[in-house]
């Protein structure tokens, strides 16, 4: 008679596999939003789309400044590196190194969010003007919400790290939060490219 089939097998843990599947569903969510953006852009006679005279009179214009978002992009990429540094440190059993990595990543994430909020205040269009504004705020807004969620995740992991909960053998939450952080980073690079670079 065989034993129960509940023993976890070799390799990745159940939780990590479940987390990767969750990330796959997140990819599909952003895939849906991106698809909407591409269809809207393909349908438009010009991009940014033409405005009505009333909108122009109200001071609406559809230009995006690239400098600040480019700096933000650098900040987010840097935070992905520091997050990976935290994972590598705890894999070697270095709790102090991991904590530094987590702190810096969290701080950079918050700076990114602050920069994005400031950027919002500098724009001369709104979500209800044209499809341009609707897609811009929806995509960057949902991305920003995911950055905030990821920052919260890192904050929880940091608190647990301060409590000494992670070791070289047992640091799944650190790896999961880092994967999530890389995910929001990659989404941002895609967003930055299509929204700001490809005119």
């Amino acid at each position: 008679m065989a034993a129960h089939g509940t023993a976890e097998r070799q390799g990745m843990t159940n939780s990590m596999l479940g987390f990767i599947l969750f990330l796959a569903s997140e990819v599909m969510f952003f895939g849906g939003l991106f698809a909407a953006y591409f269809i809207a852009r393909a349908d438009a006679p010009a991009w940014p789309p033409p405005l009505t005279p009333e909108q122009i009179a109200e001071g609406v214009h559809l230009e995006l400044e690239v400098l600040l978002p480019a700096i933000s992009t650098g900040i987010l990429v840097l935070s992905s590196i520091t997050m990976q540094y935290a994972v590598w440190q705890i894999q070697k059993g270095n709790q102090g190194g991991m904590l530094w990595g987590l702190f810096i990543s969290l701080a950079l994430g918050i700076v990114f969010l602050a920069a994005q909020l400031y950027d919002y205040t500098q724009l001369h269009f709104r979500a209800d003007d044209t499809i341009y504004g609707t897609t811009f705020y929806t995509l960057t807004g949902f991305h920003g919400a995911h950055v905030a969620g990821g920052a919260l995740f890192i904050a929880v992991v940091t608190v647990r790290a301060l409590g000494g909960q992670f070791t070289a053998e047992n640091h799944e939450a650190v790896e999961a939060s880092s994967m999530y952080w890389h995910f929001v980073d990659v989404v941002w690079i895609a967003l930055f490219t299509v929204l700001y670079i490809i005119k």
Partner: protein
């Protein structure tokens, strides 16, 4: 086999109600799912009877136009989002861990979360009936611009469907990890029971398609509430965009709604034919094929929009008939030369095969683009969807209930009442839905509340309404059988049907921890092997 006495802890005992509310046991959650979904099956059924009553005679004024729109929208929403999709999660929750020889799902607490997202969503969706403007009335497809023009009930519907989608997404991840990682020793992927395979492909579809629906609903919500322009051509949006994103989810979703039903009857047919499932691997690959092709046929709902590539989507839609046809041959080959008996679960399984075949064939008609242009948005489509979702899925639900009732509740449902239930439902189903083919060919549009007497549609509509009420009547013997079963003690042996799969290797109902011990797993029919020894193990 669970005969080992477990030492009983004395002391605090939670009240039984709290035990159910706080449970993380996959079996109890599965039962909660079944109760919840069968409740909404009844609600959706009552709404269907209202629809049929309105349509019974020409120029009827039984319910007004506005109420009618809410009723048919909520009928479909209840049946799809609150009954069919979660009922498979119910069967899956109860059966998947048992069938793969595990003690529970991979993430029991996330499992409880998946279930407890359903009741608030169901209440929110139906609370639309008491707010200003009424419940959602844009059809379950919520096409723009219609869905932009209705009251706050639509917003409640959107939020409810997003929550239901989250429930099924995290549930899907849970099922996948459970089946990938928690199988009993010896149970390779190709020894998994076929029901598990269909749940696996369903879970993949849910994981990858449902978030796209969430994205679509978020866009609709933004358009409705924050002045978004996604689906508004005035601001550069596109109404067909909604259809694209919606059907990118909702076409895979029709396979989410049918695949586990196919799995259920593929458990039932071999048991009562006393044969293994004919072409197990072909069935598995056909299931995977349907899942893969399911992502490439969404635009066959949109042929008449004029903005989709007709030859591609028409061809792909014919293609998806191929793996579906493979399954029909799997089932016929299983029956062929078998030693067939006809207890109630078998009747429902054979009902499934025959009715789903009709639904598959009239679906393939509509895959032909010119035919679809003639049939689009007529009652022919309503006939098709009910032949696959009622003739298919609902027959499988009842087949599964009769088949696993002894396992889940330890009691047998009365056979004579079961056969009466099947006979009434089978006849009622065909009387209700077959005339819709003719009505559709005659040009009757779907979703209309009133038709003129001069249209000449009254006789067939009256017939269809009669069939709908016959279906309702067929639930009476079922309910009597359930009540009678619960008045008796639990008397079922481990394996009353002489079945094949591991859930029958433990007591009925199973103990909290599922198994004391498992038989060795050397094929996809471990219990057959255990009964007959190694010499008959022919595969």
């Amino acid at each position: 086999m669970a005969t080992v006495a477990v030492p009983q802890l004395s002391g605090y005992h939670r009240p039984a109600v709290l035990d159910w509310i706080m449970t993380v046991d996959h079996k109890r959650l599965g039962i909660l799912y079944l109760y919840f979904t069968l409740f909404f099956f009844a609600v959706g059924g009552i709404l269907a009877l209202l629809v049929r009553t309105q349509l019974a005679v020409a120029d009827n004024s039984f319910v007004g136009n506005d109420a009618y729109n809410q009723i048919f929208t909520m009928h479909a929403s209840a049946m799809l989002f609150l009954f069919i999709i979660p009922v498979w999660a119910g069967f899956g929750n109860y059966l998947v861990p048992l069938q793969i020889g595990a003690a529970d799902m991979a993430f029991p607490r996330i499992n409880a979360l998946s279930f407890w997202m359903l009741p608030p969503a169901g209440i929110l969706m139906f609370a639309g009936f008491i707010v200003d403007g009424g419940a959602a009335d844009g059809g379950w497809t919520a096409y723009s611009p219609l869905a932009q023009q209705t009251g706050v009930g639509m917003d409640m519907w959107i939020i409810a469907v997003i929550v239901l989608g989250m429930s099924s997404t995290i549930g899907a991840a849970n099922f996948l990890v459970t089946m990938f990682r928690m199988r009993a020793p010896g149970m390779t992927m190709f020894r998994m029971p076929i029901f598990c395979w269909t749940m696996l492909v369903t879970a993949l579809l849910q994981l990858l398609a449902t978030p796209v629906l969430a994205a679509a609903l978020v866009m609709l919500f933004i358009d409705r509430n924050y002045g978004g322009q996604f689906f508004d051509p005035n601001g550069g949006g596109n109404v067909v965009l909604w259809q694209n994103v919606f059907w990118f989810y909702s076409h895979p979703a029709v396979y989410i709604m049918i695949l586990p039903g196919m799995g259920i009857i593929s458990e039932i047919l071999p048991v009562f034919s006393r044969k293994p499932l004919f072409g197990y691997k072909a069935f598995v690959f056909a299931t995977i094929g349907i899942g893969g092709l399911g992502f490439s046929v969404w635009a066959h709902h949109m042929f008449t929009t004029g903005s989709v590539l007709l030859p591609f989507f028409g061809f792909m839609t014919f293609m998806i008939g191929v793996p579906t046809g493979v399954k029909i041959f799997n089932w016929l080959g299983t029956l062929w030369g078998g030693s067939i008996s006809f207890p109630t679960p078998m009747l429902f399984a054979i009902g499934f095969v025959s009715m789903f075949l009709i639904g598959g064939i009239n679906g393939t008609y509509s895959a032909a683009v010119p035919v679809d242009f003639a049939l689009h948005d007529t009652y022919f489509v309503v006939a098709h969807i009910h032949y696959v979702l009622f003739g298919g899925s609902v027959f499988a639900v009842f087949g599964g209930l009769y088949y696993w009732f002894p396992k889940i509740w330890g009691r047998q449902l009365n056979e004579r009442l079961g056969k009466l239930h099947f006979a009434l439902m089978f006849v009622g189903f065909n009387v209700a839905f077959f005339p819709m083919h003719m009505l559709g060919l005659d040009g009757m549009p779907r979703r209309i509340a009133v038709y003129a007497d001069s249209a000449g549609w009254e006789a067939l509509n009256m017939l269809s309404t009669g069939g709908a009420f016959l279906i309702a009547v067929s639930m009476i013997p079922f309910l009597i059988a359930v009540v009678m079963a619960f008045m008796r003690p639990k008397d079922q042996p481990d394996d009353p049907w002489e079945a094949n799969t591991l859930e029958w290797a433990t007591t009925s109902p199973p103990p909290d921890y599922n198994f004391d011990s498992l038989p060795p797993v050397r094929s996809e029919r471990p219990l057959f092997d255990a009964r007959h020894g190694d010499e008959e193990q022919g595969h």
